[in-house]
Symmetry: D2
Subunit: 167 residues, 4 copies
């Protein structure tokens, strides 16, 4: 309980139906975050969420899954803690609220909702082959900048940790 | 109480700090929706939300505002009904859940979160000068198509009503 | 749009499976609130919720239903506005957040959760044949007082309106 | 990762401003649950929540705090994981949704809202010097029975574990 450096929490977000490449990246990101002592948070289901949890657990780390439904059993088998919320897709907002920074890998509409909500609420987002977003013509001053694009899982981990710690 | 055609609900979403052009478009959309008998739903605050409410009310229609905070007084003065939620930015999910279809005008990160959540949950979105979104390289089969882009407020109203009714 | 006296919102809460006497009381409460110009809010389903909506509508008033699921069609036929939330039982918190005061009629565990959440967040509750609540032995100073018990629907309306207006 | 007996989750609920006796009981309950391998969940703040977390941690266990606000720093220092939700008092519903069973110690209105929501959604509640609840005269058939009253912390732990495991 010696409060050295406080633990940081990084949410890994991405589609529940992921490609092999996306799963590989998510597993590497989960592993890298856990090795650095970060808590990994995710939506608790399959695809990118499961791969990130697998990586974190295999590195001896912690992964929390915030599930959309009411059944704990819906969580993937790699979660350290599986928390049902009963909020449906609105649990995406909890995945954002629990994070100091987020890593987006690939992306479905659900992932995009998390990216946008994170940027709306001032949480940094690191994106690995995720959505490209062009704002409407009249950009409002003071809008948060978009996600930070990175090219590799290692870079995603490094940038996310830096941003999470400087939050 | 003769259940002729059931009432449709259309959420109008967009930034709280809007340009003159965005406000004009939102007012025209609110007016058009109300004239067609649709209930207008919005996030209850200023900018696009206020302009849509103004248009709806001036056409004799109904506009419901779902407010992020706990204070009803934060709602704009044109709302027929102002409902505090206390959910903060997570009330964006309620603006989506209450809608049969959505019209996005301009866009901030908050607006993008609503667009994405709507498409994630199968609600059609009509976009007037809003975000351009390019999915990641590995697009998942079965993903919902993106927002329907339109060029004018009149077109936004017509398309939104058609999509809301065919939902 | 002349802001005379601001509209008050009163939530009528009670079980979805209600006795004839509870339904009668709820209908009278909905009617009385609507006649006084209050907006009636409820959970949108059957029993007490439906009876309150019926009373409000037959008096020419407005009743908003905040539904637990994602389907508008689950709302009872007397709602002026039926808003799906997708939050499941957590929508009880929205029924509380939307209200200036609440009237509880009868009561199930769901009703009790609304009574408690209302008192927790400083909203007055009027109770007509509802739960009797005895606090634990060590009562904390500063706790809100309990619900105001009344004996008739007319008294419930009068007290709720007075408390809602003095909020 | 050998799925022996699955981990159970028990939420410990009670006032943030607690008496010495309530804190002592909460600490003993947190300790007993952790010694049995259960994950302790709480609302993350002071009083009963802090004491339960302290007991769990000192026994080498895990305590998750689901915070009402958006700031992780508001969590008490004994939490293994502190998760901000931004939902305000509606996070009470998450404390319920995450649990297989709940232990209520003492009680404020917030605690009562959790007890009621738990019983509404079929989660067993064990109560140690908490609210006494008398239902309205017309009790609905099929209503869940009330909380299980116990006299000591040890009994609370034993009964909660039994109910959580038989869920």
């Amino acid at each position: 309980m010696t409060p050295a450096e406080p633990t940081v929490y990084v949410s890994v977000i991405g589609p529940g139906q992921a490609t092999g490449q996306e799963r590989e990246a998510a597993e590497a990101v989960g592993r890298g975050l856990a090795q650095a002592g970060a808590v990994v948070v995710c939506g608790g289901l399959g695809g990118v969420m499961e791969a990130a949890a697998k990586g974190a657990r295999e590195a001896g780390g912690t992964c929390v899954g915030l599930l959309p439904g009411r059944e704990r059993a819906a969580g993937n088998p790699y979660l350290t803690l599986a928390l049902p919320t009963g909020l449906g897709e609105l649990r995406n907002g909890l995945v954002v609220a629990a994070a100091d920074a987020l890593v987006a890998i690939g992306g479905s509409w659900g992932t995009l909702s998390e990216i946008a909500l994170a940027l709306r609420t001032g949480k940094p987002v690191v994106a690995l082959d995720s959505w490209r977003l062009e704002p409407p013509s009249a950009r409002r001053p003071g809008d948060a900048p978009g996600p930070v694009r990175v090219a590799t899982a290692a870079e995603a981990v490094a940038v996310a940790l830096r941003l999470a710690r400087s939050g």
